[in-house]
Amino acid sequence: MSHAVSMPDTAPAPPSDQAAAVDLRVDIGPSGAPQILPNPLMTASGCAANGPELHRFFDVTELGAFVTKSVMREPRSGRGTPRMAETPSGMLNSIGLQGPGIDAFVSTDLRWLAEHDARVLVSIAGGSATEFAEVAATLAESRDFDHVVVGVEVNISCPNVANRGQVFACDPQASAKVMTLVRESLPRDTPIIAKLSPDVTNIADIAAACLKAGASGLTMINTTLGMVIDLDRMRPQVAGITGGLSGPAVRPMAVRAIWQVTSAMREGRMPTVPIIGVGGVRTGRDALELIVAGATAVQVGTVTFNDPLAPVRVRDELAAELADRGFGSVSDAVGAAHPR
């Protein structure tokens, strides 16, 4: 027995025509109702505003889908400031779901996105399951719904007024109720993507409850609850006291959540549905990490604040990473790190 004495040569990036040949299309639709996107890259809700701001940097049609800021029924001012703190390789935010309310959203924001031919994954939120349903219904009735909305992302990481403000996503029943009512408010074939919080003892339980109640897909993960203290003023740094932690710091939590839920699907503990991965994606390598853990599509959130071009850059880097590893398509790579 003998071994070669060789250091792995760091291979140069492959020619871009190999990357260009990778089939980036993905399907985020419910089973039987494909919703094909030209590529898996999306903005993350609340990290991209509603279109015009990033359109200064790249054409919004370049994205697989544009994910809008979670919208509620009424206009909301959001919280006071400070609303953020920088943290090691991440940040803490406490915005308080500032937004125009669903009526203004459909007449102004969705309109703009429609005029610019974007594919839109609309994120909705509510303080009660009924509010979620009303927001969904208003959206479904809007003039642009049919041709621009590729799905509805249901942000259940917001406080449930009826349950002492515990977030819906921390309770399987509360999450399921939201999904049931949203399902009833939307056309049958609209993808309904439940966005989960990592701040639970067992994320697969919540995922299963959402899918049973009508969700057709999952987004993981929302921010994790964190806190920073202002040591000069000796009080919480953000006006909301605690805030959501995001960015590369939390990426290992996102990979873990996607992996756990994908494993549960593979073991038949819940139906297999598309997962949209989000959490700390900065590069094409990071996107690939979420994909091989089980995600079909990938959102870029906090990193957009560092690099407004990130969602499109990551798409191109992902194509190169896939080509590098001999993958002909994104779909081939989905879940590829799981045991066969």
Partner: protein, 299 residues
Amino acid sequence: MSALDKDVVCVDGELIASRRVGAYQHLTFVAPGIAELARPGHFVALSVGGPTSANLLRRCFSIHQVTPSGTYGGTVDVVVSAVGVGTEWVTGLRPHETTSIIGPLGRPFPLPTVDDPADAPACVLVGGGYGSAPLFWLAERLRERGCHVEMVLGAATESRLFGVVDARRAADGVTICTDDGSLGHRGWISEVLPVVIRRSRAQVVYACGPMGMLQSVTEIAAAHGAVAQVAVEEAMACGVGVCMTCVMPVQGKDGQTRMVRSCVEGPVFRGDRVRWDAFSGGLCTVPDDAVGAAGMRAH
């Protein structure tokens, strides 16, 4: 990528000059494309820490001056006070090192429309500390229009004044004050500003500096029938309008107060539109009458 209206660029900026000016560092970056688009009051967002950085968020700095072309292509100058990890990193950059720069960002100082230079309004430009950085360029533009320009520069102490010499060239009159009297008048800008406004019959007061000073300038301007245009400095996570962290309560033309993003709707606001009553002790609350405040009370 389809053609977009390019009003902003993102470039790797190479530092070509860095010099200490009192308590500050004056940095010149080659940043092609920004100079052509920039106007006084715009700012740039610099990434910090290089490829191994744990600091994800950009740091924002007012553009001090720009040179559209020249030996190096366009350049952008900023004046930085090292107060934390990011500004320490930026001021520690050495010539030929690079960092990513996005700009120009925000809305610049509105310039008066002047039909006849003889009617050009007199203006006072007030800078607190490094807040004076964007004002020299503004003074130039105003004087090109025929405006009489006075500058008031204030700081805690002499080393924290920026541009005293430049001011004498850029303005028709300069008043300096320091808290400790190390240069100029001993005391606050608010003590000298009324005199300057009255003397110059200023109709517009432009100001850049700490929030407390901007409020004070706004009140003094109003008391003298002048308009205040103030450039604010809110903590910004993105600088480009996508994160909603930099908001503050500002009244619109319709009289309604909204939590507006200071990075895209500011950093320059009409002072009398800012809801100064909402600021206190480093916090800013949402005024009860703000659009969407009721929605927050629901849950």
